[in-house]
Symmetry: C2
Subunit: 306 residues, 2 copies
């Protein structure tokens, strides 16, 4: 089924205790697409500047990413520079340059307007609403956001929440949005604003899928080496949505499995700088790691035979 993402397409400069990158391929739409396209073709809407190394996007094309909705504008591409702490638990933004992203108004190609699975990546909620209004009959709409929009565009964000099926954010965003530090109360607060489900990403602690009266938890895949957490949340979203689109299903059982695909894609993402963690990863690799989650999580609750 058709899967569409709108989000940032950026050049990231990242410093971690293990190395650094300069102007590497990044942004929410890129991480989402690289992960999601391992499972299902992905259509991308976004903007890049005249300085963007288009060839690098093309290099990712064989995986089934349709970049034809990416506008090329005069000016500089969106750039983000950040530095992680020694234990990768926190990061500091050193620089954000919006560039051509500042004037971006998303306009979907006709072929994209019939998308059935829609992910509104972390951009201005006004733009998220504009994209939503251009998609004719989506089966499911999932959106992300961040602290910046929670503070500066709260009204638009609440308007958006009333119109989406799911919010997918990290725990600090859920806390800030709801004003509640208890993550389960925060989840319920969000459900009361429209979405039928909330996914709360918790980094190395995994993620929660919260529905009315029901919660599901998936841990992160156990990794002894983590190099770069940048984009892990978007890769999670790509795996989650890619699985749903491939299955053409949006019921709870499929969403729970989608959580496993999300966590799996997050684990590949953090295993290399930028999107390099995905190099050479096949669908079969993904399925094998997904199967390992059964042993990692399933509670053998019935007494075994003596």
């Amino acid at each position: 089924m058709s899967l569409l993402v709108v989000g940032s397409i950026a050049l990231d400069s990242v410093f971690t205790p293990f190395g650094e990158t300069a102007d590497a391929l990044g942004g929410s739409a890129v991480y989402f697409s690289v992960a999601g396209s391992i499972l299902n073709p992905v259509q991308v809407v976004g903007v890049v500047g005249s300085d963007y190394p288009i060839a690098e996007l093309d290099r990712l094309a064989p995986r089934g990413i349709d970049w034809s909705g990416v506008e090329r504008a005069d000016g500089e591409s969106f750039r983000w520079k950040g530095k992680y702490s020694y234990d990768l638990q926190s990061r500091e933004t050193l620089e954000t340059r919006l560039g051509v992203f500042a004037a971006f108004r998303p306009k979907l190609p006709q072929a994209f307007r019939d998308a059935r699975f829609l992910f509104l990546g972390n951009i201005d909620p006004e733009l998220q609403l504009e994209v939503l209004s251009q998609v004719r009959r989506p089966e499911i709409v999932v959106c992300d956001t961040m602290n910046y929009w929670i503070q500066s565009k709260r009204d638009d964000l609440l308007k958006l929440l009333a119109r989406v099926d799911m919010l997918m954010v990290n725990d600090s965003e859920a806390r800030e949005l709801s004003g509640d530090w208890n993550i389960h109360r925060a989840g319920r607060w969000i459900l009361e604003r429209g979405p039928k489900q909330v996914v709360i990403k918790q980094g190395e602690y995994g993620a929660l899928l919260i529905e009315k009266g029901r919660t599901f938890h998936i841990p992160a895949y156990p990794l002894e080496e983590v190099f770069d957490p940048t984009g892990a949340g978007d890769a999670f979203a790509g795996g989650f949505m890619g699985y749903l689109a491939r299955s053409n299903a949006v019921d709870t059982q499929h969403m729970r499995r989608a959580m496993v695909y999300g966590s799996t894609m997050g684990s590949y993402s953090v295993s290399g700088f930028g999107v390099r963690g995905f190099e050479g990863v096949t669908t079969e690799d993904v399925e094998q790691r997904v199967r390992q989650f059964v042993d990692l999580t399933n509670v053998p609750i019935a007494e075994p035979a003596p």
Copy 2:
């Protein structure tokens, strides 16, 4: 099967954003026993001062706790005073008074020396070794420790590690002990020092059971109200060991189920100040909550019938 714990029996004064307690029943052996005895009788070894409200311990006796190994010494009981942050994520120790605990040398009653399931709660590793040497033929030995002993009694602690089956600590302790911030590498480091299993408790994020080449994760039970995290780790240990003792089993499958009982007991513990979260909790309550973990965690990995 006989289950023995050695640990502190304290009077705790705790400040949280939701209230406070003064000289309330606390200490690792108390939390362990109150939780564990819901599943299996518990024998306790420890010391209290002449000021200890023995009647309060007696009040817990109907649950199957044998306090006959608790020495009553002249002097003041062990006291701890602490204050939690607004989100209960961190705490500050305001005061620790060892009292009679400073001169404590554990001496097990004859009837306790045949204990088959042994939990060495967080006390001086020298004393943990002394207790271990007095138990004739334990089926399984699990020990806890804390940052204070990791820093001040590292040699004794490593000696102890070589002689126990499992170390059960929280994540910051595992990191400090191993000198590694990656929790999975930290777990492997510990396994290389003797224990066949490591349980790493992660508070609201649940707990990991790490064995050579295999990891299991259990989340915390979702709670919208948390009042007092004090003792949750010891309650977890009590549930874990109580389940193993009741089952008279120490294989991996039972340990995974024991993790669910541990997480369940942790959830009762944090739901009230001190040990009050356990008031009125029946075995049936526990079993019902344990069953809820299946829906919370199990990955429906096979495709459902169409």
